[in-house]
Amino acid sequence: MGMMTESRTPAQALKIPGEAGVWVFLFGDMVIFVVFFVAYLVDRAAAPGLFAQSSHELGLAVGVANTLILLSSSLLVVVGLGAVRRGAVPVATGAFRGAMACGVLFVVLKAFEYTQIASGATGTDLNPFFSWYFILTGVHLMHVLIGLGVLGLMVSRAQQSSDVTGKRLMVIESGACFWHLVDLLWMLIFPLLYLVA
């Protein structure tokens, strides 16, 4: 069944995933985060002991769980996009909703971690490490929340018709890339905050 759609777009044909304009934003976002990371490492160099000690106060389990959750959500988005291309609407919407559930779980765990830190031994005494922790995870959390909206949009676009082509497919592909960006950024934030600080 998949062969029919395959023949229209040969596997060898190289193509931009989603809209080119969206990629300007995605690459821009990725570069901005590199600037963030460098500034974070500069501050860390000024107080390596404090950063290491504060980092140990973060629960590793929550960080690892959130990484696994985002990776799984990304796989669901890949499965969903494949289903969209095959015209399998129920599989696509199911996979995108599954990814949304993962995203919500990520937010819940993050909120749990925030309250732990706010009520923990560190108290209100916000040291440079925790300032960076809230900046990096906060900006990332904003991406997750926007991503949840994008996934919702992808569900509604996929539901409109089983023949998803042209503009509607572009929107879904671009949305998928945005969600993967959320995953990609977390792959860097997690080790920088939880592991090498």
């Binding site: 193509k15 460098v38 990304s74 860097l188 920088l192 090498v196």
Partner: protein, 105 residues
Amino acid sequence: MKGQQAKAKPKTRLFALIESRVTIVWIVLMVLTIANPVLGIEAQLAGSTSVQLLGVAILTLAIVKVRLVGLDFMELRKAPVPMRLMFEAYCLILWVVLTACFLWL
């Protein structure tokens, strides 16, 4: 409805999914995620030179993961060459900048 037609062969689809490259990539990423904190804990126990080496190992693994997310999840492996090169360059610069800042600042 066409959607119901597509639902007809769930088993073959499941097998195709399991065999697909993306699923293998996902398994690799999950395993690396669990391996990464193990290195982190090692780093806490090790001497200062090993801490630096393990730190570089953790950052390198992170960028390997970033690259896999880009190439296989975002489908940049199938993107036009200039776009793919831009992403590869991003990963390389990211690795150089982060490890340099980590080691020498």
